[in-house]
């Protein structure tokens, strides 16, 4: 299981862009922040896209998760090495490492490590969910906005997660394919921990390793508490995009039944995309699906802050997801009509 792909142990400095891309592709590297987008696609943008900056995302994607922080502390040089290799693959001159201000140890570690690389700089960003979201990070760090429906590469930048960078380093320098990752196991477990696990490890093994579940568990989540998926069984395997396992007790995961919207505007304030979640919630509650289009529900990135903040406990994000499904259905019907 531990055998490595037979690469030449050549010095990475001498590698060409094609070499790096070949190794990243054959090692099966995907974005380890959670979305699991194939990394070699990100590193090989169409020729007409001019990329000028590579942002390394050192912001934890969700509350409760601390795996990226641990990797930044323990594998600083490998993460930095991966960043430099990715920069070489893309041919960009600027590398930016964005770390949340509540991780001073990681900030200090990278400030020390980047001395050899004048083209890389470290930026401290505000720790506020959803700072780890690609679009929000680009706006904070580069003051650019990804146009609606476009990709970061359309505005000249690429964002990579710190664990992805480490995987790039391992693939290129050691020829290691992506067969393991670091994830956080936390919540109501006996010994919460960040552990390095093989892809495919069953959930039950992770829980056993952490000493088992404690107390009255209501929900078991793959990913973080804001965007993760709740699970029904313990024999689910870890996949490449699994950033954490959170066991929530009955008290933490308690759902207060929804009441009426009082238009307090907390969802509007919370939305990082500038949407009006309460309006979409109201329209869905009343079945006014035709009026949904002008509220740009498709721009929602499903961070869940609106539902979290709502004092009336209205499942706003759930309504927006339903709106998206309805929208897709409508489009399919339209497409079929024109086909006939």
């Amino acid at each position: 299981m531990d055998e490595k792909i037979g690469f030449d142990p050549r010095r990475p400095e001498t590698l060409s862009s094609e070499d790096i891309l070949f190794r990243v592709r054959t090692a099966g590297i995907v974005g380890l922040g959670g979305a699991a987008f194939p990394t070699h696609v990100k590193l090989e943008p169409p020729k007409d896209r001019k990329i000028d900056s590579l942002v390394l995302n050192g912001c934890e994607c969700e509350p409760y998760l601390t795996a990226d922080h641990r990797v930044m502390l323990e594998e600083t040089d490998k993460v930095l090495g991966g960043l430099v290799l990715a920069m070489r693959a893309l041919g960009v001159q600027t590398g930016i490492i964005a770390i949340e201000s509540n991780k001073p140890d990681a900030l200090a570690g990278f400030a020390e490590a980047i001395r050899r690389f004048p083209q890389v700089r470290v930026v401290s960003v505000k720790a506020a969910y959803p700072q780890g979201s690609e679009k929000q990070l680009i706006k904070t760090v580069l003051r650019r906005e990804v146009p609606s429906g476009k990709l970061p590469m359309d505005i000249g930048c690429v964002v990579q997660n710190v664990q992805t960078a480490k995987a790039i380093h391992d693939a290129v320098c050691d020829g290691t394919p992506l067969f393991e990752r670091v994830l956080t196991v936390t919540g109501s477990v006996k010994r919460p921990a960040n552990i390095r696990v093989r892809i495919g490890t069953p959930l039950s093994d992770l829980i056993d390793f952490c000493g088992g579940l404690t107390g009255d568990i209501r929900k078991l989540i793959f990913g973080g508490p804001m965007m993760g998926l709740s699970q029904t069984a313990l024999d689910v395997p870890v996949i490449k995009g699994t950033s954490g396992v959170v066991a929530l007790s009955a008290k933490e995961a308690k759902r207060i039944p929804p009441t009426r919207c009082i238009r307090c505007g907390r969802c509007v304030e919370a939305c990082a995309m500038g949407l009006v979640p309460m309006m979409m919630g109201r329209l869905m509650e009343r079945g006014c699906t035709d009026a949904l289009d002008e509220w740009s529900y498709s721009d929602c990135m499903e961070c869940g802050r609106c539902s979290y903040e709502c004092p009336a406990k209205i499942p706003l994000l759930h309504y927006i997801r339903m709106a998206k499904v309805l929208g897709r259905k409508k489009q399919t019907v339209k497409g079929m009509d024109s086909a006939i």
């Binding site: 509350p63 679009k135 706006k139 906005e145 990804v146 146009p147 609606s148 476009k150 568990i217 209501r218 929900k219 078991l220 989540i221 508490p225 804001m226 965007m227 993760g228 998926l229 709740s230 699970q231 029904t232 313990l234 959170v246 929530l248 933490e252 995961a253 308690k254 759902r255 207060i256 009441t259 009426r260 919207c261 009082i262 238009r263 307090c264 505007g265 509007v268 939305c271 990082a272 995309m273 500038g274 949407l275 009006v276 309460m278 740009s296 721009d299 499903e302 869940g304 802050r305 539902s307 979290y308 903040e309 709502c310 004092p311 009336a312 406990k313 499942p315 994000l317 759930h318 997801r321």
Partner: protein, 303 residues
């Protein structure tokens, strides 16, 4: 083992609507005690009648008229009752208070679809109806059985009596509605709500600020204009009602400015000495329009 499957997010903030209502209620209580202390026990009965009447009417309309879920536990009806009583004179006959409750809860709130759907602030509709229906009792201010002119009345009618000092106005040693006199306690309650994150500064600051500035244009004493009448009560507790106010910060500033502008216009150009109530009601009407023009820019979209 059996776990719950639900869509994300899996956490909820601890704050709920009843908690918000209770906080606003608690912030208002000290000013009410001051009113009862100054104006006597009858004002306490006015307050209690108003609260009980509002809750009862909400119960009746939800249970038997509209046949929906009874939601009196959310505290919004009790808060409406308290707020309406605060802008009534201390010796208001109790049956008239109940008429106000009917218009506040049944007409202005439940007929519009209940909490969250009402266009107008229910407490202010109650007061507005009472003011037009019972103009005599609604403008009779007494302390210890002696009828006196309110500071704004003295100012409006240019009666010979001298205006009270700023200090008296601020502490509340003046005739007026039950809960509007003590600016000190009202502002203290407002700061508590601000600290709890229940109201934002935008509406009170822009309302009071615009009354201050615009009063100067009308050659009036701005400090007197701000500290007299129901301005503080209205700006801090009624214009900040989330249901009948705008959603965004920019909208709130516009809304507050409108309230201030209309208050100053009614006070100086109209026949009433006080205009906060009508100013807020008129601005309530404009909220859908304000919301439409102050929408946030969506990330990644051109305006």
């Amino acid at each position: 083992m059996k776990w719950v499957i639900e869509s994300s997010p899996h956490l909820q903030s601890p704050e709920t609507v009843p908690q918000i209502m209770v906080s606003v209620f608690a912030a208002l209580v000290p000013a009410g005690f001051w009113g009862v202390f100054r104006f006597g026990m009858h004002s306490a009965f006015v307050v209690l009648t108003s609260i009980a009447g509002c809750v009862l009417l909400e119960f009746i309309s939800q249970k038997w008229v509209f046949k929906t879920t009874v939601r009196i536990g959310d505290g919004s009806a009790a808060l409406t009752g308290l707020l309406m009583a605060y802008c009534l004179p201390p010796d208001m006959p109790l049956w008239q208070v109940l008429v106000g409750c009917f218009f506040a809860i049944f007409i202005a709130k439940e007929c519009f679809g209940g909490l969250g759907n009402n266009l107008f602030n229910p407490a202010l509709i109650g007061r507005a109806v009472l003011l037009t229906s019972f103009p005599v009792t609604m403008t009779r201010w007494q302390i210890d059985g002696v009828t006196q002119a309110s500071p704004l009345g003295i100012w409006k009618e240019s009666i010979g009596a001298s205006l009270p000092s700023y200090g008296t106005l601020f502490v509340g040693g003046i005739p007026g509605s039950i809960g509007e006199t003590s600016k000190l306690l009202l502002i203290a309650g407002g700061l508590f709500l601000l600290a709890r994150g229940i109201i934002s500064w935008h509406v009170p600051v822009s309302t009071i600020g615009s009354v201050f500035v615009l009063s100067i244009f009308f050659r009036q004493d701005p400090v007197f204009q701000v500290l007299s009448g129901g301005l503080i009560l209205g700006a801090v507790y009624m214009a900040t009602d989330t249901v009948t106010g705008p959603l965004t910060a920019r909208g709130k500033l516009i809304f507050g400015f409108g309230c201030g502008l209309l208050t100053v216009c009614i006070r100086n150009l109209g026949s009433f000495p006080e205009g906060v109530c009508y100013a807020i009601l008129i601005m309530n009407m404009l909220v859908p329009l304000i919301d439409r023009f102050t929408r946030q820019r969506i990330y990644g979209k051109k305006t």
